[in-house]
Amino acid sequence: MAAVLDIKNMSKSFDGIVVADNVDLTLHAGRVVGLIGPNGAGKTSLFNLVCGVVKPDAGTVLLNGARLDGLKFHQRVRSGLSRTWQHVRLFPSLPVIDNLLIGTHSYPGERLFNVLFGPARLKAFDDAAREKGKDILAKIGLSKVANDLVSDLPYGQQKLIGVARALMGDAKCLLLDEPMAGVEGQAYQAMQRVVREVAESGVAVCVVEHNISFVRDLCDEGVFMFAGAIMARGAVADLIRDPQLTELYFGH
């Protein structure tokens, strides 16, 4: 089992509030890790630290053995990291398929030079990326909304599209921030299926989620965080049964 993402001794505090307290976490190819814990435990903050959105006070992140520390967010993404957002953050002025196109690993259209002098290359890229986008949309059962503006879609579908968009870039490690919040019905099943398929294809997945049944059904391992520190790790079912953790989760 190959280690894909390696978080070592990660620490961060904001004005004395500790969001990461010497966190060590390794994600492996093909495995889904569920990050659970009460609000404010530092789960999303850990994602932000890994992505470089927030600079750590101490600690290091390695992706396939290479240090990410000096890199900016977009550079980390290009080296194989991908994440979604709790509040989706799609591009509302773009249709679904165009939201996906932006997320391709390389996007030649982001260079003015290519736009002005390499239209043939852009066309080839566009066609290939569109095909890939349509495949992913078909997998999550949203082919029929490919040309709709994302702002016209119900929230559950937007969440799925957020995951679909994160899959466009051939990520080696996928961080999902509350993929199930606000998702119900058909989208719930689709989300579970997609995440499982992604993991089976060899991607290391980490899910922050409050929906415990989703975590239990999906994750190979659970990690319990509290006050920025990892309190326990192991099978999700065991974590749920632990009375100490339950008390931390629900308070007194």
């Binding site: 977009h74 002025s93 249709p95 736009v115």
Partner: protein
């Protein structure tokens, strides 16, 4: 006829300025007021190079493009590293500072202005040829911005404007994209400056002051941001109006303030009654086949 040519050339140049500024503020979402300064940089660079260093006019104009482009990168690089808000603040300082510099150094002619700029085309082919040159450049700039806005680059600009953090999370480099947009738009303003200088053959620093910033901004906002024809119509309208007013035989002491009032007044009126401008932006990324989704 000469008057008519001057008006056409001015309108053409302002269409270029408004269209390039639309690229920056509309498509790029970058707020800057310094567009007239890049116009000035192009004009001065081209004028100085051709008059005092005997550089052929065409090359001097191209140099004006590059001087404005490089200066805009120098302005954007430090401020965009921090955040977009700093660009606006820095642009105000840049505009005030650079114009003050132009007024106070000798090789620009100081506040008295720079005169005897070598003419271009007019002696050999008549004024009509210059009109055609300006209109050709104007068309090329309109086409260029139209092409960019509908290309993969345009899609990326839309995404970046929508949500910069999400844009970065897709592996896209927002900072360099902004710098590229700002540099291209500013370079085009510099080219317009060169075109201005070699027709009117006299430039002064006060032509490029804050009233010009307001004028160009008004053209884009009133015409319609993020549209191809909005800035064109805005520039036509706002160049025609002052010309029309100047026929009213008002004393110059009233004429100047009236123009300023016109620009700010128009922005206020449009803000309340037609915020989308004369030409409303449509969803260019919505596929023509897709009907607006019904509420689900």
């Amino acid at each position: 006829m000469e008057y008519l040519y001057s008006v056409i050339i001015l309108v053409g140049l302002y269409v270029i300025l408004a269209t390039s500024f639309n690229l920056i503020i509309g498509y790029g979402g970058l707020v800057s007021i310094a567009h007239p300064v890049f116009f000035a940089l192009g004009a001065y660079a081209s004028a100085i190079l051709s008059r005092d260093f005997h550089v052929p006019v065409l090359l001097a104009m191209l140099a004006g493009f590059f001087v404005a482009l490089v200066a805009s990168i120098a302005l954007a690089l430090p401020s965009l590293r921090v955040s977009g808000d700093y660009l606006m603040i820095a642009s105000i300082g840049f505009q005030l500072g650079l114009l003050e510099l132009i007024k106070n150094v000798r090789f620009t002619g100081g506040s008295g202005g720079f005169s005897n700029i070598p003419p271009f085309l007019i002696r050999e082919f008549g004024r009509e040829s210059y009109v055609l040159l300006v209109l050709a450049v104007m068309l090329a700039v309109i086409l260029l911005v139209w092409w960019i806005s509908r290309s993969d680059y345009g899609r990326a600009m839309s995404a970046m404007r929508d949500d910069e953090l999400a844009f970065s999370s897709m592996g896209r480099d927002a900072m360099w994209m902004k710098i590229a947009i700002f540099a291209l738009g500013s370079g085009i303003a510099g080219l317009a400056g060169g075109l201005y200088a070699h027709y009117f053959r006299f430039i002064t620093p006060e032509q490029f002051e804050i009233l010009q910033s307001a004028a160009i901004l008004t053209m884009v906002v009133v015409g319609g941001m993020r549209t191809t024809w909005g800035p064109v119509i805005g520039a036509l309208l706002l160049q025609a109006l002052p010309q029309a007013i100047s026929f009213l035989a008002l004393p110059p002491s009233i004429l100047g303030p009236i123009q300023g009032l016109l620009f700010t007044g128009l922005v206020l009126v449009f803000m309340f009654f037609r915020p989308q401008g004369l030409v409303p932006a449509n969803d260019i990324w919505r596929a023509p086949s897709a009907k607006p989704a019904e509420p689900r």
